[in-house]
Symmetry: C2
Subunit: 145 residues, 2 copies
């Protein structure tokens, strides 16, 4: 596994260990990590800190030129909110651990020119499948269904 | 002005007084305010707390059934990130103070069945126009350009 996806996976696993939703993300620019994060619904009672959003928040404020050179790594296919954040900031490249357990707004991202790379990583799939099986209500809350 | 849009405007004005970006939002369900908020880029150094996101965060965690009965009031047309959050949570109705100074992803929202009401409010327009004129770099950072 790519080292940035390994870091995203480590964030997801840390979230799982905290009793949270195991999705992690890393924002990378010019080969350097700007920020990493994980879903904070349980830990912070947050409605907006999905893994991708938490990574963007932890990365801090940046001008558009930085986002335009960045790649977002995320263990799970990004939902509408996180896809919208990717579009807002013009992040051109998203590496997705898996989209088997949930497929977000990939078609919208592709239609706007974002390059997606889906790894179909078995560890990412196994982690999400276990979580969803054990926490269906929490999962539904997180994806708004 | 509708009392919920008045509250959104009061949030925007409070943000302006703090040196922040003057955009405010209120999430309302069954005639009651679940949460209100304002853009926190300057105040919290936040890349994700646009007014709408701050209102959603301050409203706390809710099941999909609550969002499905909610209306989001926001002083300015929602960007891609905030529109994505509206889609994630299935918020069916958005009242927008104005879309003259910035028009977000209204077409996407309409295409997904979200009902939009644009007030073209002169106070909302005047506040944003003043802010953008005086803070073009900060504004560009906030909308990713």
């Amino acid at each position: 596994m790519d080292r940035f996806m390994e870091l995203a996976m480590a964030e997801a696993e840390a979230g799982m260990a905290e009793g949270g939703i195991p999705i992690g993300s890393v924002l990378v620019c010019d080969g350097k990590v700007l920020g990493s994060g994980r879903n904070q619904r349980v830990q912070l009672g947050s409605a907006i800190r999905h893994g991708e959003m938490d990574a963007l928040e932890n990365a801090g404020r940046h001008p558009a030129a930085v986002y335009a050179r960045s790649t977002l790594y995320t263990t799970l296919s990004p939902c509408a909110m996180c896809s919208g954040a990717i579009l807002l900031y013009g992040i051109p490249h998203v590496v997705i651990g898996e989209n088997k357990s949930f497929r977000g707004e990939e078609d919208l991202l592709i239609s706007r020119g974002v390059e997606l790379e889906v790894l179909d990583d078995p560890d990412c799939i196994a982690l999400m499948e276990q979580f969803i099986r054990e926490n269906p209500e929490l999962w539904n809350e997180d994806i708004g269904v």
